[in-house]
Subunit: 213 residues, 2 copies
Protein backbone atom coordinates (compact mmCIF):
# COMPACT_ATOMS: atom_id res chain seq x y z
CA UNK A 1 0.00 0.00 0.00
CA UNK A 2 2.89 2.29 0.74
CA UNK A 3 4.06 1.62 -2.75
CA UNK A 4 0.86 2.40 -4.60
CA UNK A 5 0.89 5.80 -2.92
CA UNK A 6 4.44 6.47 -4.05
CA UNK A 7 3.58 5.32 -7.53
CA UNK A 8 0.42 7.39 -7.65
CA UNK A 9 2.20 10.55 -6.52
CA UNK A 10 4.96 10.08 -9.06
CA UNK A 11 2.77 9.29 -12.03
CA UNK A 12 -0.03 11.66 -11.20
CA UNK A 13 0.91 14.65 -13.30
CA UNK A 14 2.21 12.73 -16.30
CA UNK A 15 0.53 12.50 -19.67
CA UNK A 16 -0.69 9.17 -21.00
CA UNK A 17 2.19 9.01 -23.45
CA UNK A 18 4.73 9.72 -20.76
CA UNK A 19 3.29 6.94 -18.62
CA UNK A 20 3.40 4.50 -21.51
CA UNK A 21 7.03 5.43 -22.16
CA UNK A 22 7.97 5.09 -18.53
CA UNK A 23 6.37 1.69 -18.17
CA UNK A 24 8.01 0.40 -21.32
CA UNK A 25 11.34 1.78 -20.16
CA UNK A 26 10.97 0.18 -16.77
CA UNK A 27 10.26 -3.15 -18.35
CA UNK A 28 13.22 -3.00 -20.70
CA UNK A 29 15.74 -1.58 -18.20
CA UNK A 30 14.72 -4.07 -15.53
CA UNK A 31 15.11 -6.97 -17.90
CA UNK A 32 18.26 -5.97 -19.77
CA UNK A 33 20.05 -3.46 -17.55
CA UNK A 34 21.27 -0.07 -18.72
CA UNK A 35 23.90 -1.41 -21.11
CA UNK A 36 21.66 -4.04 -22.65
CA UNK A 37 18.63 -1.78 -23.05
CA UNK A 38 17.89 -0.25 -26.46
CA UNK A 39 15.91 2.93 -26.95
CA UNK A 40 14.34 1.27 -30.01
CA UNK A 41 12.95 -1.58 -27.93
CA UNK A 42 11.49 0.87 -25.43
CA UNK A 43 9.89 2.87 -28.24
CA UNK A 44 8.44 -0.27 -29.82
CA UNK A 45 7.04 -1.46 -26.52
CA UNK A 46 5.45 1.94 -25.88
CA UNK A 47 4.17 1.99 -29.46
CA UNK A 48 5.74 5.33 -30.28
CA UNK A 49 8.97 6.27 -32.06
CA UNK A 50 12.42 6.96 -30.71
CA UNK A 51 12.23 10.72 -31.15
CA UNK A 52 9.41 10.93 -28.63
CA UNK A 53 11.54 9.26 -25.99
CA UNK A 54 13.96 12.15 -26.27
CA UNK A 55 11.18 14.68 -26.35
CA UNK A 56 9.99 13.47 -22.95
CA UNK A 57 13.22 12.33 -21.33
CA UNK A 58 16.09 14.09 -23.17
CA UNK A 59 18.47 11.13 -23.03
CA UNK A 60 18.85 7.44 -22.25
CA UNK A 61 20.62 8.40 -19.04
CA UNK A 62 17.75 10.55 -17.82
CA UNK A 63 15.20 7.89 -18.68
CA UNK A 64 17.22 5.30 -16.84
CA UNK A 65 17.55 7.60 -13.89
CA UNK A 66 13.78 7.91 -13.65
CA UNK A 67 13.40 4.13 -13.71
CA UNK A 68 16.15 3.54 -11.19
CA UNK A 69 14.74 6.15 -8.83
CA UNK A 70 11.33 4.53 -8.98
CA UNK A 71 12.79 1.12 -8.20
CA UNK A 72 14.47 2.55 -5.11
CA UNK A 73 11.29 4.32 -4.08
CA UNK A 74 9.35 1.11 -4.36
CA UNK A 75 11.80 -1.05 -2.54
CA UNK A 76 13.19 1.47 -0.07
CA UNK A 77 10.24 2.02 2.23
CA UNK A 78 9.25 -1.60 2.40
CA UNK A 79 12.84 -2.55 3.01
CA UNK A 80 13.76 -0.22 5.78
CA UNK A 81 10.87 1.65 7.29
CA UNK A 82 8.88 -1.54 7.63
CA UNK A 83 11.66 -3.10 9.66
CA UNK A 84 11.91 -0.15 11.98
CA UNK A 85 8.30 0.07 13.10
CA UNK A 86 6.89 -0.14 16.60
CA UNK A 87 5.66 -3.73 16.27
CA UNK A 88 6.82 -6.91 18.04
CA UNK A 89 9.84 -8.38 16.28
CA UNK A 90 8.17 -11.65 15.44
CA UNK A 91 5.12 -10.09 13.85
CA UNK A 92 7.22 -7.50 12.06
CA UNK A 93 9.35 -10.15 10.45
CA UNK A 94 6.36 -12.11 9.19
CA UNK A 95 4.77 -9.00 7.73
CA UNK A 96 7.98 -7.82 6.15
CA UNK A 97 8.77 -11.11 4.45
CA UNK A 98 5.25 -11.54 3.17
CA UNK A 99 5.09 -7.98 1.81
CA UNK A 100 8.52 -8.21 0.27
CA UNK A 101 7.77 -11.46 -1.54
CA UNK A 102 4.46 -10.09 -2.81
CA UNK A 103 6.08 -6.90 -4.08
CA UNK A 104 8.94 -8.64 -5.81
CA UNK A 105 6.61 -11.23 -7.29
CA UNK A 106 4.98 -8.30 -9.09
CA UNK A 107 8.36 -6.81 -10.11
CA UNK A 108 10.65 -9.83 -10.19
CA UNK A 109 13.56 -8.07 -11.84
CA UNK A 110 14.00 -5.36 -9.23
CA UNK A 111 16.51 -7.16 -6.97
CA UNK A 112 18.78 -8.22 -9.82
CA UNK A 113 18.36 -4.88 -11.55
CA UNK A 114 19.42 -2.84 -8.55
CA UNK A 115 22.28 -5.18 -7.74
CA UNK A 116 23.69 -5.13 -11.24
CA UNK A 117 23.40 -1.42 -11.78
CA UNK A 118 25.07 -0.84 -8.45
CA UNK A 119 28.02 -2.97 -9.28
CA UNK A 120 28.54 -1.21 -12.59
CA UNK A 121 27.93 2.27 -11.23
CA UNK A 122 28.33 2.61 -7.50
CA UNK A 123 28.48 6.40 -7.32
CA UNK A 124 25.15 6.85 -9.06
CA UNK A 125 23.52 4.51 -6.61
CA UNK A 126 24.97 6.16 -3.55
CA UNK A 127 23.78 9.55 -4.67
CA UNK A 128 20.24 8.33 -5.25
CA UNK A 129 20.07 6.36 -2.04
CA UNK A 130 21.20 9.23 0.09
CA UNK A 131 18.89 11.83 -1.38
CA UNK A 132 16.11 9.26 -1.03
CA UNK A 133 16.43 9.68 2.75
CA UNK A 134 16.69 5.91 3.11
CA UNK A 135 20.38 6.44 2.49
CA UNK A 136 22.02 5.23 5.61
CA UNK A 137 19.32 3.64 7.62
CA UNK A 138 19.06 3.99 11.32
CA UNK A 139 17.01 0.99 12.36
CA UNK A 140 16.96 2.33 15.91
CA UNK A 141 13.78 0.53 16.81
CA UNK A 142 14.99 -2.77 15.39
CA UNK A 143 18.29 -2.36 17.22
CA UNK A 144 16.65 -1.73 20.57
CA UNK A 145 14.28 -4.66 20.11
CA UNK A 146 17.21 -6.89 19.35
CA UNK A 147 19.22 -5.55 22.27
CA UNK A 148 16.29 -5.98 24.61
CA UNK A 149 15.92 -9.62 23.60
CA UNK A 150 19.65 -10.19 24.00
CA UNK A 151 19.73 -8.54 27.43
CA UNK A 152 16.79 -10.65 28.57
CA UNK A 153 18.74 -13.73 27.55
CA UNK A 154 16.01 -14.49 25.03
CA UNK A 155 18.06 -13.93 21.88
CA UNK A 156 21.57 -14.76 20.86
CA UNK A 157 24.12 -12.02 20.50
CA UNK A 158 23.73 -11.28 16.78
CA UNK A 159 24.51 -7.91 15.22
CA UNK A 160 21.69 -6.04 13.55
CA UNK A 161 23.81 -5.95 10.40
CA UNK A 162 24.02 -9.72 10.15
CA UNK A 163 20.32 -9.98 10.89
CA UNK A 164 19.44 -7.60 8.06
CA UNK A 165 21.79 -9.35 5.67
CA UNK A 166 20.22 -12.70 6.52
CA UNK A 167 16.66 -11.55 6.05
CA UNK A 168 17.35 -9.88 2.71
CA UNK A 169 19.47 -12.73 1.44
CA UNK A 170 16.75 -15.26 2.14
CA UNK A 171 14.08 -13.02 0.60
CA UNK A 172 15.79 -11.49 -2.41
CA UNK A 173 18.27 -14.06 -3.68
CA UNK A 174 15.65 -16.63 -4.73
CA UNK A 175 14.33 -13.98 -7.13
CA UNK A 176 17.67 -12.67 -8.31
CA UNK A 177 19.02 -16.17 -8.94
CA UNK A 178 15.73 -17.71 -10.03
CA UNK A 179 16.95 -18.93 -13.43
CA UNK A 180 19.95 -20.56 -11.78
CA UNK A 181 17.89 -22.35 -9.17
CA UNK A 182 15.19 -23.43 -11.59
CA UNK A 183 17.73 -24.88 -13.99
CA UNK A 184 19.94 -26.53 -11.45
CA UNK A 185 17.15 -27.90 -9.28
CA UNK A 186 14.99 -28.69 -12.32
CA UNK A 187 11.87 -26.87 -11.13
CA UNK A 188 9.24 -25.54 -13.54
CA UNK A 189 7.55 -22.12 -13.23
CA UNK A 190 4.54 -23.31 -11.27
CA UNK A 191 6.75 -25.30 -8.95
CA UNK A 192 9.01 -22.33 -8.31
CA UNK A 193 6.05 -20.08 -7.54
CA UNK A 194 5.06 -22.60 -4.92
CA UNK A 195 8.59 -22.61 -3.51
CA UNK A 196 8.49 -18.82 -3.20
CA UNK A 197 5.08 -18.88 -1.56
CA UNK A 198 6.28 -21.44 0.98
CA UNK A 199 9.11 -19.11 1.93
CA UNK A 200 6.72 -16.56 3.42
CA UNK A 201 6.31 -18.99 6.29
CA UNK A 202 9.75 -20.55 6.14
CA UNK A 203 11.94 -17.43 6.31
CA UNK A 204 10.51 -15.96 9.53
CA UNK A 205 10.84 -19.39 11.12
CA UNK A 206 14.49 -19.62 10.12
CA UNK A 207 15.30 -16.13 11.34
CA UNK A 208 13.53 -16.52 14.67
CA UNK A 209 15.03 -19.96 15.18
CA UNK A 210 18.49 -18.55 14.54
CA UNK A 211 17.92 -15.78 17.08
CA UNK A 212 16.60 -17.91 19.89
CA UNK A 213 18.92 -19.36 22.45
Amino acid sequence: MINSVVFYQTMNDKSETEKKIFEAARDVFHRRGFDGARMQEIADKAKINKALLHYYYRSKDKLFEAVFREALKRIGPIMFEALDREVPLEKKLKMFVSNYIDLVTKHPFIPGFIMHEMHTNKTRFKTFLKENKHGIIKLNKLKSQLKEGIDKGQYKNVSVEQLIINVFSLCAFPFAARPVFQTVLDIDDAGYRKVLEERKKLIPEIILMSLKK
Copy 2:
Protein backbone atom coordinates in the same frame (compact mmCIF):
# COMPACT_ATOMS: atom_id res chain seq x y z
CA MET B 1 41.92 -27.01 -4.52
CA ILE B 2 39.46 -28.50 -6.94
CA ASN B 3 39.46 -25.16 -8.62
CA SER B 4 43.16 -24.73 -9.08
CA VAL B 5 43.22 -28.06 -10.88
CA VAL B 6 40.47 -26.98 -13.23
CA PHE B 7 42.24 -23.72 -13.85
CA TYR B 8 45.55 -25.40 -14.43
CA GLN B 9 44.13 -27.86 -16.94
CA THR B 10 42.37 -25.13 -18.84
CA MET B 11 45.22 -22.69 -19.00
CA ASN B 12 47.98 -25.21 -19.46
CA ASP B 13 48.40 -25.17 -23.22
CA LYS B 14 47.83 -21.45 -23.71
CA SER B 15 50.46 -18.92 -24.68
CA GLU B 16 51.40 -16.09 -22.36
CA THR B 17 49.51 -13.59 -24.50
CA GLU B 18 46.42 -15.73 -24.55
CA LYS B 19 46.51 -16.00 -20.77
CA LYS B 20 46.90 -12.25 -20.40
CA ILE B 21 43.94 -11.72 -22.72
CA PHE B 22 41.80 -14.22 -20.90
CA GLU B 23 42.50 -12.74 -17.51
CA ALA B 24 41.81 -9.22 -18.71
CA ALA B 25 38.60 -10.43 -20.33
CA ARG B 26 37.53 -12.19 -17.18
CA ASP B 27 38.08 -9.08 -15.17
CA VAL B 28 36.15 -6.84 -17.53
CA PHE B 29 33.27 -9.24 -18.22
CA HIS B 30 32.85 -10.04 -14.52
CA ARG B 31 32.75 -6.36 -13.65
CA ARG B 32 30.64 -4.99 -16.48
CA GLY B 33 28.72 -7.94 -17.88
CA PHE B 34 28.60 -8.84 -21.57
CA ASP B 35 26.73 -5.73 -22.68
CA GLY B 36 28.82 -3.33 -20.66
CA ALA B 37 32.17 -4.85 -21.57
CA ARG B 38 34.28 -3.19 -24.28
CA MET B 39 36.87 -5.00 -26.34
CA GLN B 40 39.00 -1.88 -26.11
CA GLU B 41 39.07 -2.03 -22.32
CA ILE B 42 40.05 -5.70 -22.42
CA ALA B 43 42.84 -4.94 -24.88
CA ASP B 44 44.12 -2.06 -22.75
CA LYS B 45 44.09 -4.17 -19.63
CA ALA B 46 45.98 -6.96 -21.40
CA LYS B 47 48.37 -4.39 -22.86
CA ILE B 48 47.80 -5.47 -26.44
CA ASN B 49 45.59 -4.09 -29.20
CA LYS B 50 42.08 -5.03 -30.24
CA ALA B 51 43.13 -6.94 -33.33
CA LEU B 52 44.94 -9.50 -31.19
CA LEU B 53 41.79 -10.25 -29.27
CA HIS B 54 40.19 -11.34 -32.50
CA TYR B 55 43.26 -13.25 -33.56
CA TYR B 56 42.99 -15.40 -30.43
CA TYR B 57 39.26 -15.48 -29.81
CA ARG B 58 37.56 -14.64 -33.15
CA SER B 59 34.74 -12.59 -31.57
CA LYS B 60 33.44 -10.95 -28.42
CA ASP B 61 30.91 -13.77 -28.12
CA LYS B 62 33.57 -16.48 -28.16
CA LEU B 63 35.72 -14.62 -25.66
CA PHE B 64 32.74 -14.18 -23.38
CA GLU B 65 31.87 -17.83 -23.75
CA ALA B 66 35.33 -18.81 -22.52
CA VAL B 67 34.99 -16.55 -19.49
CA PHE B 68 31.49 -17.73 -18.69
CA ARG B 69 32.47 -21.38 -18.98
CA GLU B 70 35.37 -20.86 -16.63
CA ALA B 71 33.12 -19.19 -14.07
CA LEU B 72 30.79 -22.19 -14.16
CA LYS B 73 33.70 -24.58 -13.89
CA ARG B 74 35.00 -22.77 -10.85
CA ILE B 75 31.70 -22.48 -9.09
CA GLY B 76 30.02 -25.69 -10.26
CA PRO B 77 32.07 -28.33 -8.44
CA ILE B 78 32.26 -26.43 -5.18
CA MET B 79 28.55 -25.74 -5.39
CA PHE B 80 27.18 -29.15 -6.06
CA GLU B 81 29.65 -31.95 -5.74
CA ALA B 82 30.81 -30.65 -2.38
CA LEU B 83 27.26 -30.82 -1.07
CA ASP B 84 26.75 -34.37 -2.26
CA ARG B 85 29.75 -35.98 -0.59
CA GLU B 86 29.82 -38.84 1.88
CA VAL B 87 30.42 -36.64 4.92
CA PRO B 88 28.19 -35.95 7.94
CA LEU B 89 25.75 -33.16 7.15
CA GLU B 90 26.99 -30.83 9.83
CA LYS B 91 30.63 -31.06 8.82
CA LYS B 92 29.76 -30.85 5.14
CA LEU B 93 27.87 -27.62 5.64
CA LYS B 94 30.70 -25.98 7.52
CA MET B 95 33.23 -26.98 4.87
CA PHE B 96 31.02 -25.87 2.04
CA VAL B 97 30.28 -22.45 3.46
CA SER B 98 33.90 -21.82 4.32
CA ASN B 99 35.14 -22.91 0.88
CA TYR B 100 32.47 -20.96 -0.91
CA ILE B 101 33.20 -17.74 0.94
CA ASP B 102 36.93 -18.14 0.33
CA LEU B 103 36.43 -18.78 -3.37
CA VAL B 104 34.07 -15.88 -3.90
CA THR B 105 36.27 -13.57 -1.86
CA LYS B 106 38.90 -14.20 -4.54
CA HIS B 107 36.39 -13.69 -7.37
CA PRO B 108 33.78 -11.45 -5.85
CA PHE B 109 31.94 -10.72 -9.08
CA ILE B 110 31.15 -14.32 -9.98
CA PRO B 111 27.75 -14.58 -8.26
CA GLY B 112 26.42 -11.33 -9.70
CA PHE B 113 28.00 -12.05 -13.06
CA ILE B 114 26.37 -15.44 -13.46
CA MET B 115 23.04 -14.18 -12.18
CA HIS B 116 22.93 -11.22 -14.53
CA GLU B 117 24.05 -13.10 -17.62
CA MET B 118 21.46 -15.74 -16.91
CA HIS B 119 18.65 -13.31 -16.69
CA THR B 120 19.62 -11.69 -19.96
CA ASN B 121 20.35 -14.95 -21.76
CA LYS B 122 18.78 -18.01 -20.23
CA THR B 123 19.28 -20.39 -23.12
CA ARG B 124 23.02 -19.87 -23.23
CA PHE B 125 23.26 -20.67 -19.56
CA LYS B 126 21.18 -23.81 -19.77
CA THR B 127 23.29 -25.15 -22.60
CA PHE B 128 26.52 -24.56 -20.71
CA LEU B 129 25.24 -25.93 -17.45
CA LYS B 130 23.97 -29.13 -18.98
CA GLU B 131 27.10 -29.92 -20.96
CA ASN B 132 29.06 -29.13 -17.82
CA LYS B 133 27.51 -32.26 -16.28
CA HIS B 134 26.46 -30.21 -13.26
CA GLY B 135 23.34 -29.46 -15.29
CA ILE B 136 20.51 -30.85 -13.25
CA ILE B 137 22.06 -31.94 -10.02
CA LYS B 138 21.09 -35.09 -8.27
CA LEU B 139 22.11 -34.45 -4.68
CA ASN B 140 21.19 -38.04 -3.85
CA LYS B 141 23.50 -38.21 -0.89
CA LEU B 142 22.28 -34.91 0.52
CA LYS B 143 18.68 -36.02 0.03
CA SER B 144 19.18 -39.29 1.84
CA GLN B 145 20.99 -37.59 4.71
CA LEU B 146 18.15 -35.16 5.06
CA LYS B 147 15.53 -37.89 4.84
CA GLU B 148 17.36 -39.96 7.40
CA GLY B 149 17.40 -37.06 9.83
CA ILE B 150 13.72 -36.39 9.22
CA ASP B 151 12.77 -40.04 9.69
CA LYS B 152 14.73 -40.20 12.93
CA GLY B 153 12.73 -37.21 14.14
CA GLN B 154 15.97 -35.27 14.37
CA TYR B 155 15.25 -32.79 11.58
CA LYS B 156 12.20 -30.89 10.50
CA ASN B 157 10.47 -31.80 7.28
CA VAL B 158 12.23 -29.38 4.92
CA SER B 159 12.63 -30.04 1.20
CA VAL B 160 16.14 -30.36 -0.17
CA GLU B 161 15.28 -27.58 -2.62
CA GLN B 162 14.51 -25.08 0.14
CA LEU B 163 17.62 -26.15 1.99
CA ILE B 164 19.83 -25.52 -1.05
CA ILE B 165 18.16 -22.19 -1.74
CA ASN B 166 18.72 -21.12 1.87
CA VAL B 167 22.39 -22.07 1.93
CA PHE B 168 23.17 -20.34 -1.35
CA SER B 169 21.14 -17.27 -0.52
CA LEU B 170 22.98 -16.78 2.76
CA CYS B 171 26.36 -17.37 1.11
CA ALA B 172 26.07 -15.64 -2.25
CA PHE B 173 23.78 -12.69 -1.73
CA PRO B 174 26.10 -10.79 0.62
CA PHE B 175 28.61 -10.73 -2.26
CA ALA B 176 26.16 -10.00 -5.05
CA ALA B 177 24.52 -7.18 -3.10
CA ARG B 178 27.65 -6.00 -1.35
CA PRO B 179 27.48 -2.40 -2.58
CA VAL B 180 23.86 -2.18 -1.45
CA PHE B 181 24.57 -3.50 2.00
CA GLN B 182 27.69 -1.44 2.49
CA THR B 183 25.92 1.75 1.51
CA VAL B 184 22.72 1.14 3.38
CA LEU B 185 24.32 -0.22 6.54
CA ASP B 186 27.21 2.24 6.29
CA ILE B 187 30.00 -0.33 6.55
CA ASP B 188 33.48 0.30 5.16
CA ASP B 189 35.52 -2.28 3.22
CA ALA B 190 37.43 -3.61 6.20
CA GLY B 191 34.24 -3.86 8.22
CA TYR B 192 32.47 -5.74 5.46
CA ARG B 193 35.33 -8.21 5.11
CA LYS B 194 34.90 -8.93 8.79
CA VAL B 195 31.17 -9.39 8.34
CA LEU B 196 31.81 -11.92 5.57
CA GLU B 197 34.39 -13.76 7.64
CA GLU B 198 31.96 -14.01 10.56
CA ARG B 199 29.44 -15.64 8.28
CA LYS B 200 31.58 -18.75 7.88
CA LYS B 201 30.54 -19.63 11.41
CA LEU B 202 27.13 -17.97 11.37
CA ILE B 203 25.61 -19.56 8.28
CA PRO B 204 26.09 -23.22 9.29
CA GLU B 205 24.63 -22.36 12.69
CA ILE B 206 21.57 -20.81 11.12
CA ILE B 207 21.01 -23.69 8.74
CA LEU B 208 21.44 -26.37 11.39
CA MET B 209 19.27 -24.46 13.83
CA SER B 210 16.55 -24.20 11.22
CA LEU B 211 16.71 -27.92 10.58
CA LYS B 212 16.58 -29.09 14.16
CA LYS B 213 13.31 -29.82 15.85
